[in-house]
Amino acid sequence: MDILFFVISMVLFASIFIFLGYLGYKKTKTVEDYFVAGRKMGALLIAFSYGATFISAVALIGFSGIASVYGHSILWLAFLNVFVGIFIAFVVYGLRTRKMGLSLNAMTLPELLGNRFNSVKLQQASGLIIGIFMVAYTSAVFLAIASLFQVTFGIPYWLCVVVFTLVVGIYLIVGGLYAVMWTHAVQAIVMLVGMIILMVGIYTMLGGIGPAHEAAAGLTPEMLKSIGSPAATQAPNGLTSMPPVLSQPFMMVLTLIFGVGIGVLAQPQLITRYLTAKNEKALRLAVPYGGIFILLMTFTAFSIGPLCNVLMYQNNIMYPTKEVAGVMVANPDAVIPTIINELFPSWFILIFLFAILAAAMSTAAALFHTAGASIGRDVYEKSLKRKISPEKSIFITRIATFAIVIATLIISLNPLDVVAYMTAFFFGLMACTFLAPYTLMLYWKKTNRTGVWVGMLGGFLFTIAWYILIYFKTAPKIIGTPLVGNYMINMLDPIFIGLPLSFLLTILFSIIIRQDKDEETIMKTSFENI
């Protein structure tokens, strides 16, 4: 594809976002405007923004690559993405979060926790956790997209990272959440177009749903081995069958499904979307739009991943590889780009690259905004211990966001090994830290400050310890050999133990130590409209 044509398209693409950033700047007058888009968003914008934030380039490219290794069993994650990530998230969490957020005048998850339990320190601690780990996670998103562009176009990695960070940073810092949500709408449409064409294209090449799946089911381990596909060993019962219960592939699929599928409920950048709704109906009507959007994203990505093996086998394409420490290993991340480069027309390559770029930009913008708000509003502003003007509050957060953008840029240009694991880290960490306090805060009136502190820190410390000492992906890189050798334990996502532990600790300490009078009063205010 012509690089010049791509560069011109890229400039146009970036110009649209920077223009939307300018419009957001003109519309941002109050603190609410900057942090929660004035609480004026309608159903479609909420759904698109939530979906575009939720689905990153890693989800589209990385997870379809994983599906090419483990087969269609990963579709259970698509089910959880729609049922838990949209239906349960909006109906069980979103509606109450918005009401409580209004009653407590909260605009971020840490502020919601801090105001609900009358604790500035709680707000600061949770803001700090979110801010720090979100920077590393955002770097991982950048790393993935910049590597893709380097491989596809030969554009130097550093140039991709700098341009990408500048574009996102400019429209985000200038335009606040208005700009972020408007750009999300544009990005979501680009993602939809890209994924729909990809899905239709692949199923058409293979003769429809039934024939395509039957072709995948018919691939034997020998056939998969002949194209170098890791599915030969990782999908022992075939690409369209569940792996044997408690086998290593089964544990891998299980940990992915629950780590991401349940972890989505406690993502601070997604929780912010509930707070932007103009009314309850907007949140309720976002459910169908969100459901359809996620279906077309994850269901498509996970469905076509295994089918790429069939296309590779039929067209004599070898499974992509990469060099790790001098050894060539399978590279699932390159499966979809390989298929598109080999079998799709060049006009679609451009559309798909923009779809992936849109997915990465939308997630990065939402993460920057949430991290900036966490550090600026929840940590720094609260440490001032005095009331400041709305203009100054926005200014502080803009500076904090700028600092986070620069920090992310530096980390992305000098990526540490640990950054690459952050995508696996982040969902589990946020879930084990915040999901129990957040759920109980919304539904159990007796939840108190001590319980939330213990539950939050207990879940956080347990998860960090699990990743360092036991988890099979991270522990070997940090301590050499995991403390537990049994794969049925060290392949488990920490969410399986950390989440129940966090719930238990929050409930236990809320029972042992009673609420004080201030907490009781605030609790009554919180539940007034629920």
């Binding site: 087969g71 729609v82 949209i86 009653s103 024939p211 039957e214 072709a215 018919g218 459910v287 409209n529």
Partner: protein
């Protein structure tokens, strides 16, 4: 395509039962989301109009109604 002869017989749309449940479950979950939206769009009247969550919102609702 010779390898199609080796497709196992106990498959639904080319998938085994565990995968098929996930596949159809995802589609049904989306249908649930759509039905939920349709219910609140056309059948159920909003609770919020009768019970606004804050005075500010009450003003907003009144403005929207106007």
């Amino acid at each position: 395509m010779k390898y199609l002869e080796e497709v196992p017989m106990n498959l639904i749309l080319g998938m085994d039962i565990g995968v098929f449940i996930a596949w159809i479950g995802t589609l049904l979950a989306t249908v649930l989301c759509i039905l939920y939206g349709l219910y609140y769009q056309f059948i159920k009247k909003s609770d919020e109009k009768q019970r606004p969550t804050s005075p500010k919102e009450q003003d907003k609702t009144q403005e929207e109604d106007l």
